[in-house]
Amino acid sequence: MTVPDRSGFEALFAPRGVIVAGASTHPGKFGFVALHNILRNGYPGKVFATNREGGEVLGVPCATSIDDLPDGEADLVFVCTPAGANPDLLRACAKKGVRAAFVTSAGYGEAGEEGRRAEADLVALAGELGMLLAGPNGQGVVSTPASLCAQIVAPYPPAGRIGIASQSGNFVSSFMNYAVQTGVGVSRAVSAGNAAATTVPDYLDFYAEDPETAVGLAYVESIPDGRAFYERVKGVVERKPLVVLKGGATAGGQQAAASHTGALATDDRLFDGMCRQAGVTRAATVEEAFEAAATFATQPLPKGPRTVVVTTAGGWGVVTADAITRSSLELAPLPDDLRAAIDQKLPPRWSRNNPIDLAGGETRDTIPEVLELVASHPDVDAVIYLGLGIQSNQARTMRTGPYYPDHGLERIVDFHERQDRRYAEAAAAVSEATGKPVLTATELAVAMPDNPGPAAVRESGRLCYAASNRAVTALDHLWRHARWRQRRGL
């Protein structure tokens, strides 16, 4: 296996110009959709289009031959032409200085013996031309630092630090849809398609060196050479965290994978052991995978497992304590000096232990103060804060009811919303000041996403977890990875 050189990835993720080959006037065709999505999402570089008929698509004049395009102005060709046309297309593009091709065309390795031959020929040709070949049979590539959305599907995520690579294009979309929902953004995303020349580990290897990317997020199904995969991802994880979702973890899933990508069945426990050895963060579900990546991207790594829960209501704390106890995290006993310090801030009915249940004793400044006391304590490694958004939820009911703004409602609504905003900002500020993870969780993140509490968490660039157990799962992944690093002196 040859590792593609870096300039090909630069051409793919930060092209100076893009050619859409096979541009179509029909808004249902890939050749239209790709061009549309590139233009629609504000790609600032030059955009060229080619097709057999000429004419114009979305105001872009279409050349009937690559030869008619200017030299050296496009680095990337986005290929929507039939497989048979592609060898000549790539040769012509190479002459124009194109260094990367994303091939959406089907009819390759997934299409029988003839397709496999065509794919091998395409790989060899790209190699000769010194061109990075992405795909074929892939959905596209996204790169937010370049404002590039070269895809035959919709989602374009907010900018962020997660680098996505997937053997299944639809999982690229799923991950990016979560990015849109949560506001935790993406740096690069690519669907490897048949991964004929450029494989998921190749992209991950690029992400490991990419200053725009803080964490890799991958979906894999078939691993033809497990040993090479292990060596590659281990090299990636030594540099950056990597979250992997694996399809085909069960006998039923393996059967489905065999018909999807022709994957060979492996004992899942072996894959699991490989992940643990390589320091890969393995997630069980797509949601868990995204949230783990989002947490790596937006929270510092914990230096130890000692976790303290700060909650405004007892029941939430109890359930969260259960989740922590079931994980690799520790429900840290509250240090005496910390207890004494909190005693100064709260009436005596507070829980006086971990979880710290404020039990309704808080006043205007208590929550930011307690968060700061807890996170600053040397015997605390991480904090989970529950109860954000309750005040604003009441405020919303008041604001939308018939009594607003009279009866003093306007004032109290403003107060509630200001407070929740403060709490969210305090959680982020305390985390930054202490270098410790501080996670906030409330179902209001999905139930009422415009609630000023969760909204302010989003504005801080962090994830507001939709349930405390999901915050615990994400934090557990961070600690396991941090421990893997510590034990290996990394």
Partner: protein, 214 residues
Amino acid sequence: MPTLSEAESKARLAAHGVPVLDERVAGTADEAVGAAHELGFPVVAKLCGDAIAHKTERGLVRLNLGDGEAVRSAATDLLAAARPEDGAVGVLVAPQVRATRELIAGLNLDPQFGLTVMLGIGGVLAEALGDVAFRLVPLTRTDAEEMLDDLATQALLGAFRGEPPVDREAVVDVLLGLAGLAEADPSVRSVDLNPLMIVEGRPVAVDALVEVAP
């Protein structure tokens, strides 16, 4: 795939630090009785040879032999049960050990991942529990320690029914020994330590089978 005899398998593993019992290979029933007296009763007798990979299935293991007569009779039967295709055989005489806890460990050649080390909870419920952990060769001491942490049945590794906790470092040494053998001898294709008994908290390979490339 060719296999090594139990005695040869154990000798190779012991050279890499895998604990085995003090055992003797006897060519005749008389020698077997002599070996049993040296080791002390009760003993186990097994037919041992390079080509014998499935002793239990063929009834070639005799347990709980309490005196010289029992050993003589068992050894005579075992030697008589040898088939021409078994090649050179002997009777392996070993002390009978008792353990409430058993682990399994081994090396396997996976078509995708290459040589892997395995550790699991052994005993009659092993298959039903499926509590095993894998790592790829080569592995570090830290990797091996984490394999033990991966087992779900941690309660079985602590103090248990009056026995001390499992000596985790000693189990780690077994795993590193397996990996060490694989690295030292590229012809090794698989190793099966089943059971790896926990005696007074310490692991000991009571049976071992090494497969080598043809």
